[in-house]
Amino acid sequence: MEAGKEHMLWMYEQMLVIREFEETMANIYLEGKLPPEIQEGLAFDIGSGLVPGEMHLAAGQEPVAVGTCVHLNDNDTVTGTHRPHHFAIAKGIPLKNLAAEMFGKVSGLGRGKGGHMHLFSVDKKFSCSGIIGAGMPPACGAALVSKKKGKDWVAVTFFGEGAANQGSFHESLNLAALWKLPVVFICEDNKYAISVTREESTAIANNADRAAGYGIEGVRVEQNDALEVYEVMGEAVSRARRGGGPSLIEVSTDRYLGHFQGDAEAYRPQGEVDQLRKNDPIDRLQKQLQDQGMSDTEDQQIRQGASEAVGEAYEFARNSDYPAASEAEMHVFV
């Protein structure tokens, strides 16, 4: 199934929002990381600043998120990883509450309790985890409920090529195949599990081939391209909705930034990222839309809108309050 102009525009706009959100965060993250009282010899204090802690950004990986979420609605579940913002945004999580959560503010998705790796939205059925491979079993659970209730709701779980070697991957694929669950497993092959390449970690060349071991459909998307992801995920989501069971999709995508912010990426060949950026999926979709008649004015409007939305979100986060200390002992149980 090919994307119509409406969906192309949606994906384009979403990718712009995501890219701007991630690249803006790459800068915000550095604010306050070199406090005056820092010890001698330290380049960076991870625990200081406006957004302390770890930060894992998905710039470059936008096509996977938008090409997937374009096919989903609020009844569908998405579970994911420590690098979640692209999917969170594409799934429809309000940018303001996303940003506020990343800043640890009380107006955040989790009242500041989760932080950027632990984003939960009950309304948008989105959750993510900092534990590799941990999103797959709960996606099977959500899919199980859809099946039990006779619905056509789908669960999508995204994970990296490194996670495909975790036990939870294998258990979840078998369980989903055995029970014919409406779940789509989407592997983001961004070539690096922190510093370890796929060749260094995985016995086979192509995770989509593992699908055969579980008796399910497996497809690899070779280009980091929104329209290609759109087509393949359209099939997979459609299969799940009509009771055809799970699929395993692998997308070759590009991680433009480090594994975490502060990662010097010494393990990455010089100039690799610059090369990857020459193949920017946003530029490609822009051209494709221009071919479909998108005017410069329209383009400008979309870009401006995206910029404003991101700017507002971070303003909101900056201006929001922290939770009161007393909240630390709340919400263990409901």
Binding site: H118, F120, S127, K148, V332
Partner: protein, 335 residues
Amino acid sequence: MSERELTMAAAISEGIAQEMERDADVFVLGEDVAKYGGIFGATGGLLDKFGPERVMDTPISETAFIGAATGAAAEGMRPIVELMFVDFFGVCMDQIYNHMAKNTYMSGGNVRLPLVLTTAIGGGYNDAAQHSQCLYSLFAHTPGLKIVVPSNAYDAKGLMIQAIRDDNPVMYFFHKGIMGLPWMAYFTGSTNMVPEESYTVPFGKASIIREGSDVTLVTLSQMVQKSVIAADKLAEDGINVEIIDLRTLVPLDRETVINSVQKTGRLCIADEDYRSFGLSGEISAIVAENLDRVNLKGSVQRLAVPDVPIPYSPPLEKAVIPQVDDIESCVRSMM
């Protein structure tokens, strides 16, 4: 409504069945829970009553099916998922520890996980180190999990119904040696009168099994039954033991413990879990934190497994798991 004697296993499955009748969102999954009725009988008869859609046998994939239970609970269903032996937690601990226990908190209270994780605990029948542990302390030490440990059929049914109705993740530990199985000798005190109707037993409320003024004996699970036998013997010699059955570790009824020790001045803790860094230390600490209220006549005594893996050989296993005689001689030594 009438009551009749039930084994703890029958009481548990009856509690589950009544809730499954009442609420279509309750379902059961785990290894051998359907056809077999659970290796230790906790889900006996459920498959016949409710069918394979609601009582599901799973592959040997604890991470997947326990994580799936979490995902299903997040969608508003109420799964009861069985971890066959608590000792197997190693293969799925991440889903329990970092997800089931923490999602509610990390979401600022937005995510609800109304699930029950049942599991078999306990030794005394020579199943060796990997199949005889209790480990409730490990899980009680994890913020975000409610911990339920029944000692008898009556409590077991009420606590199970309470657990199913609770909107939080509840871990329910049933000791194999008090289930009343036809193939394992059990302490008959665990089989007792159970009302036919549905009822609940509250969490965070310890049960004073027996009142006494000489020694406070804090205990749980199968150890409660051993304590009762020991207390009977001690009573013959005029030593009156007050037995406190904790029933739930999270929430924990600290007040009942403190009040009792206030009365007796002597504390003995009888626990089948490992001695160090666990339940018996926790109870001791609670008393130590309340020395403005209690006057201890002597040191706290802790009966527990002495920080060794549980051995296979019968005389060795008997030596490490506290026995009736051990409870008796410990209490005598305190007088």
